[in-house]
């Protein structure tokens, strides 16, 4: 058991990480997240266009969008309360924190021990609460509609996500993201059948949480079918820019979490410069492949009826529980 206070445990790690170089690398990871997230969205959009036989928008289109939105004035609804104005910052902050505590480059990051995986799910949940409340705040029917649907998706997706995380936590005997990833990445190569179940479940949850096609359609203009888009219809200017950026960060965070849990090879163990420098191209390659697969799945699927979304997420939950059971029954050594 990896106790937090034992040698090599959380507290020891935290002390070691509080070095200047550790802080620098943490900063690099955050900057990288901010910069790469819109690029990932742009890449996915480009792949979608190619797969659908359309000419693709430029790879940098999301940056142009953000630039345009930051320059625009904010138009506020008459009934908007301070909550409505605060929500974009809260959501953006939550997503940035999530990106900071998910090991993207190294498992040895100063912020990594601040929140374990359960707290990570909580941070993502907090963002959901804020955006749903903000959607209902101005009192338009679409905002309420979207907020309601988002909570439906959320309350089904969160347990499935937790189950996935418990499976990985059982393997590494810790709920700390860094420890889990380190255990999975740097131990002898072992095939865990439980991780296969958990991986599929995580993919399902990621699609639902990021408003991707089988559950939601990020490209739709039909206000009555929207989930995520319906919630942000009333936002404009820099508020909208922050929300769009946060959505990109969310996709990036989920991608990195999935890659770190199920394809952790290449993530540096310590703060060695060479290891970290190697980790960046590896991450890029993984994101490029992941983004293409995401676009592929989105292209061949139609959106499910909204009342099929519980079935979709129910399947995810079932697979996650199966992964947990497989771990407990087959993989635990006596």
């Amino acid at each position: 058991m990896n106790l937090p206070w034992g040698p090599g445990g959380e507290f020891a790690r935290r002390e070691a990480a509080m070095s200047i170089s550790g802080l620098l690398w943490q900063l690099l990871a955050i900057v990288l997240a901010l910069a790469l997230a819109p690029l990932l969205t742009g890449w996915v959009n480009q792949c979608r266009a190619w797969l659908q036989n359309r000419s693709a928008p430029p790879l940098l289109q999301p940056y142009y969008m953000l630039h345009k939105l930051f320059l625009k004035d904010v138009v506020l609804a008459h009934g908007a309360s301070p909550l409505f104005r605060f929500a974009p910052f809260a959501v953006f902050g939550c997503m940035l924190l999530a990106c900071a505590i998910i090991p993207t480059l190294s498992t040895d990051l100063p912020l990594a021990p601040t929140a374990d995986t359960i707290a990570l799910v909580g941070v993502l949940g907090l963002a959901r609460i804020f955006i749903s409340l903000a959607a209902m705040d101005v009192g338009t029917s679409f905002g309420t509609l979207g907020g309601r649907r988002e909570m439906l998706i959320g309350f089904l997706a969160e347990p499935a996500l937790l189950m996935v995380i418990f499976t990985t936590a059982l393997i590494s005997q810790s709920t700390s993201v860094a420890t889990i990833v380190e255990t999975l990445a740097h131990r002898d190569f072992i095939i865990y059948p439980s991780l296969a179940f958990a991986g599929i479940a995580f993919t399902f949850v990621s699609f639902a949480e990021n408003a991707r096609v089988p559950v939601d359609n990020p490209a739709t203009h039909l206000e009555l079918t929207m989930i995520h888009e319906a919630m942000i219809l009333e936002y404009s200017g820099r508020h909208l820019a922050l929300i769009e950026w946060a959505a990109s960060l969310k996709l990036y965070a989920y991608s990195c979490l999935g890659l770190a849990l199920f394809f952790p090879w290449g993530i540096a163990a310590g703060s060695s410069v060479l290891g970290l420098l190697m980790a960046i191209p590896v991450l890029l390659v993984k994101l490029v492949i992941g983004g293409f697969l995401l676009a592929g799945i989105e292209t061949i699927n139609a959106k499910v009826r909204i009342f099929r979304a519980p079935e979709f997420l129910g399947t995810a939950f079932l697979l996650a529980v199966l992964g947990l059971l497989v771990r407990l029954m087959l993989e635990t050594r006596v």
């Binding site: 979608r48 797969l51 659908q52 036989n53 359309r54 029917s141 679409f142 509609l145 096609v213 089988p214 359609n217 490209a219 739709t220 203009h221 039909l222 206000e223 009555l224 079918t225 929207m226 219809l233 292209t299 061949i300 699927n301 139609a302 959106k303 499910v304 009826r305 909204i306 009342f307 099929r308």
Partner: protein
Amino acid sequence: MTMRFHAEPIEFTRQPGLGAPVWAARAADGDDLMRFAVSVHRHEGRLAALWGEDRRQRGEGFRLHCVFALDEGHLWLDLDLPAENPVYPDLAGIFPAANRMQRATRDLVGIAFEGGSGGGDARPWLRHGAWPADWHPLRHDAGEGGGFPNDPSDYDFVQVGGEGAHEIPVGPIHAGIIEPGHFRFSVIGERVLRLEQRLGYQHKGVEKLFIGGSIADGARLAGRISGDSTCAYAWAYAAAVEAACGVNPPPRALMLRALMLERERVANHLGDLGALGNDAALAFGFSQFMRLKEDWLRVNGALFGHRFMMDRIVPGGTASDLEAPALRAIVDQCDAIGREVKDLRKIYDEHAGLQDRFQTTGTIHADLARELSLTGVAARATGLILDGRAHRQGYTPPPPYAALGVRPATDERGDVAARAAVRFAEIFESLRLLQEIAVGLPDSELCIEFAPVADAHGLGVIEGWRGEVLVGVALDGAGRLARVHPHDPSWQAWPALEHAVMKDIVPDFPLINKSFNLSYSGHDL
């Protein structure tokens, strides 16, 4: 030639010409009209159109025009109303489709309906407060209008009560770039209890623009009522004028008109099938069908000089001809597009996710379709064999369709999947017709000149891609247009959409709406 229907006393006279069979007569009084309407309804007929005409400048009063449809053809029944206090019995209790047409007639011409069994809906329909209730734009003494204070009035939507029931107002401004219309949903959670539409945001006074124009002016305007149905409207208008003036267009022109109408049908069905895929988030289908539609429209542009073939059908014939190479190009393109659509139909049929969205969504049954006087794709998707181009018991289609032997496409499910299936089947049938027409185009002149006949009137009926398009034309003493009423099939289909969405869920509405794809412009006039 005269005829009586269902042993009713009213004697009808057959309208001359080559157009769809139309029988015209005049009712003696309101009771006569009511009796006949009841009889039509009992024999599973439908109400095809209803409009009013101001004839006071000729020393008469007002005239109400009703067009009923039976298997034998269309029955055009007039009713003369006095100049002072023109009132006729409410037909909405017999034909629910009459409700909006009667209200529009009251708004525009100022002839009222009361009594009857329709309950007398007092709300305006096309009048949104841009002009006062006592001013009627289609009266000859109305003047140009304008200068009225814009006074948007509250519209009395039907309220649904009960615990948890609330309303979702949608439009007229939408998130996407589409035509304006307001939809008021009463829902519990996601379940739709009731939908009520409010239309008329695109009212632009088309009927008033017709008045006083020459026949050629009218032809141009008729082609611009609804851009997606320009051929259907142009042909219906031409057929009405030709019937009024006793002119028979030459055979080559009739075949070319059919060719254009079928090309219009294919173009719109291709677009709709793509849009149906897109609304279910299958963007692949959208881009494929849009590519095919674009290829199709480019050939239109190359052959006719206009991508939508506007102004190519004119009273007396057609304005453009096709040479042998053009006909060969059409045959080749039909082959190529047919192969691709066959592949795409396979993809649509076998896509589990898409079929799950399509099937059992937005269902209407044949009984309801008949009750609402529904026509076109939506009616055929409930199993009704209702196609003005095809033979059926007691009905012979007008030339050139009589000789082409059109096989109507039907499907009995009545849901979105059925409407998609009917569109696929109609594309294949239209491609076959196009090839048949292109191969067997008869030789004759294209267009015959004719002089307008004073005080004549005629009705044209054409099976457009959306459904039955009617145009009624009346000429004045100088042979100019006294009154033209274009009628879009959407008048009957919009209320059917209200029924189709009931008991479905809110996020399925866009898909159901798209499967009907109704016209705002053609309806709002």
